[in-house]
Symmetry: C2
């Protein structure tokens, strides 16, 4: 019972949800603590950081019953509040999911430490030696919804990259998140690191989010993870740079040069492997020169797999089960077993459609024609462009980057999967022997 | 005379300063044109981009008289408005400065093209081949004050990095900037590139700045160059990410392990070579263990060179000419022949002072002690940290990066000198042969 994650034994300021305490003051104290912790985390402490992750994984195992009890509270509240099926499912923990969280922490411990890595070095004619060295960003605020495992992943990714983390889970997962956070704190303590390296906001009052977004002197970056509403609020209100993931409107383009079998397999996997992830395909574009040969089979594959197909006129003519796609469909992220299908004039038509309707996330071309593929890869302006591969590979783990904070659809700093390297910045180190500038 | 930079022959929407035209509409059209140009610039067109820079350099030579006439208008207006000495000096063009601008354009043409560079590539066990490839950011808005040469430098740096540029010069340099812009347009035309690759805002109405800052769908990044007031306004109002340069409060720390001669030379150069640049030192920190031996000479060197010295009590006791430094001095960027001096307890004291008062720009340690130097380089959290070298080397050119847009004091995306590489982002290119995700 002494493992119970109360405010008192996690070093958190004690603040119950409806307390009249000045939230701004509490949040400022939290961020000040984070800034102090960040100075310690910026040092060369690879072993301690890895030990903290591994000890936290052990704590998750030890505390499994506490975690399940806390999660049951969240689940009951969610059911009472009428939360829907998939939302409820995302919230729930079981021993398998807890073990997966622990494994993820161990995988993060096993990653190379990005801090101190020399990214480039060169000498100047005057004898100065210059290197660009990775350093942590500093303090990262993570604002997220429902999935309690984000607490473990985000906390450990920040720690591994030398950053102090301030976690702000959604109220729907608050008990689970606090229990998981308590395991992270056990890891930090066992490794001799400050408990304030990973803090959790001690209130679910939404005013706390506003505070987080407006302390640019104490917080270096904000990472929102959740639905569109959350991300838009954060982008609008934040006085701090935001790394965020908006829509994943991903496309499969089947070119006239495609191997039809590959095209069918890639399409089915891109759409139906897991329709709810951001790398799932939402729109199929088919070259007019390939449509007669391949599109009927593709439609049949999709419908057989349980996918609703909404198409343009040509597509509708090929199969009576296809309903009409509207303009809205081309810019919709279904995250569900629904696909929109359009016949386009070659790679040029595909590139134009993606430029107009895509979300610069992930798009793939299926073709055996190298030149056409090269054009698609060059001209489609997305974080990830693929040739003859499923869009469902859009994932930090699949890229070999280890766990990820998400896929950034922004163009600055981090684009695509956000792993530990993307949570760092760099400094220039200049070594001289007395040089002065003429 | 057909070279005269009128709105009509530069492809600009015709809008005089006091026109009642809807500025928002004009700015939106400008940005839409920039977006179209950016799509063309993103291609592999190294030769055309370089030709445009070289032809623009030639145009600057041909148009020297036009440039001088335009500049004289600005100078007269500035004098009438009572602009001060250094401001006025920064504004003025002469044949030598025009030739320097042209040389800068040629130097940018000579830089390697960052677009298409493969930053990293690796294979996955499933046979997928992944590479990270540099691509342009897109459309860059540059808002600047007084120095007309920014028009040439910023325009060419954006072009070289494959970005479309929207330039918004200050009203004080508007005639000069328009004339320089006209030379850039001549370069673009000669190279067969769209004139809209580098556009200049056709009004000095400040409302145009507000428009630039609020079109995140059409502009990818904003770079302000100018005084604190401008940069704060941009940071507060912008809905678009900003790369900006705030203060350069740079430090020289003379350690107990310093070679006194090196320390004196580095100090004098860091402060007095050009006191007005952002890499100029503003504060000298001297190890208490070195002060008796070296500080009196250092003070004398500075005062002899025409520098005002403001010091703490110890420093004042060493030389009657030293006036008292206040708390305000430690956080002041003089950009002038003034220095603040403080005696600190070893490298730890120096690191603590810089953490509290520095601006994360450039700081140098002078010491022969490798361990102490390593600690300073590791623990000082600045964009550029130096050992036994003058802070005046904080410059993209001195780093071998070619011309620069400035020195970024932010932590995200670009830190330190902002050259052509820093004006790019990247995409992941994934090559497969039919892989689907299990």
């Amino acid at each position: 019972m002494n493992n119970a994650p109360t405010a008192a034994n996690t070093g958190q300021t004690n603040l119950t949800d409806n307390a009249s305490t000045d939230i701004a003051k509490v949040m400022r104290a939290l961020a000040t603590n984070a800034r102090s912790a960040a100075a310690i985390l910026a040092n060369n402490i690879t072993d301690a950081k890895n030990m903290a992750c591994r000890e936290a994984a052990l704590a998750l195992g030890r505390d499994t019953n506490l975690l399940l009890t806390a999660n049951a509270k969240d689940a009951t509240a969610a059911e009472t509040a009428g939360l829907s099926g998939p939302m409820l499912d995302r919230l729930k923990l079981d021993p398998v999911r807890i073990a997966a969280m622990a494994n993820s922490l161990i995988a993060i411990a096993d990653l190379p430490d990005p801090v101190g890595q020399v990214m480039a070095e060169w000498d100047r004619p005057n004898g100065l030696s210059i290197s660009r060295v990775r350093v942590p960003l500093g303090v990262i605020g993570i604002i997220y919804e429902s999935r309690p495992n984000v607490t473990a992943d985000a906390g450990a990714l920040c720690l591994k990259s030398g950053n102090a983390a301030i976690l702000r889970p959604g109220s729907e997962s608050i008990h689970s998140s606090r229990a998981i956070h308590h395991c992270l704190v056990q890891g930090l303590t066992a490794a001799g690191l400050p408990e304030t390296a990973i803090q959790i906001v001690p209130t679910t009052d939404r005013a706390a989010v506003g505070c987080l977004l407006t302390m640019p002197d104490l917080i270096d970056i904000i990472v929102p993870r959740g639905g569109k509403g959350l991300i838009e609020r954060v982008q609008n209100e934040s006085k701090i740079p935001v790394i965020s993931h908006l829509d994943g409107i991903c496309h499969v383009y089947a070119d006239r040069g495609a191997d039809t079998t590959k095209a069918r397999e890639i399409l089915l996997n891109s759409k139906m492997r897991r329709p709810g992830i951001c790398g799932a395909t939402e729109t199929l574009l088919v070259d007019a020169a390939l449509a007669d040969e391949a599109l009927p089979q593709m439609i049949n594959d999709l419908i057989t797999a349980g996918c609703e197909v909404r198409g343009d006129a040509t597509t509708q003519n090929m199969d009576a089960r296809v309903t009409a796609a509207t303009e809205e469909d081309w810019k919709t992220e279904y995250l569900d077993a629904i696909i929109s299908v359009r016949v386009v004039e070659g790679v040029e038509g595909a590139i134009a459609h993606i430029a107009e309707h895509g979300s610069q996330h992930t798009d793939t071309i299926v073709t055996e024609d190298g030149e056409t593929a090269a054009r698609f890869l060059r001209e489609v302006d997305s974080a990830i462009v693929m040739h003859n591969a499923s869009t469902q590979f859009a994932d930090g783990g699949e890229f070999g980057m280890g766990a990820e904070m998400g896929i950034s659809t922004g163009r600055l700093h981090a684009r695509g999967p956000v792993g530990v390297e993307q949570l760092t910045t760099f400094k220039y180190v200049v070594q001289g022997n007395g040089q002065t500038r003429p």
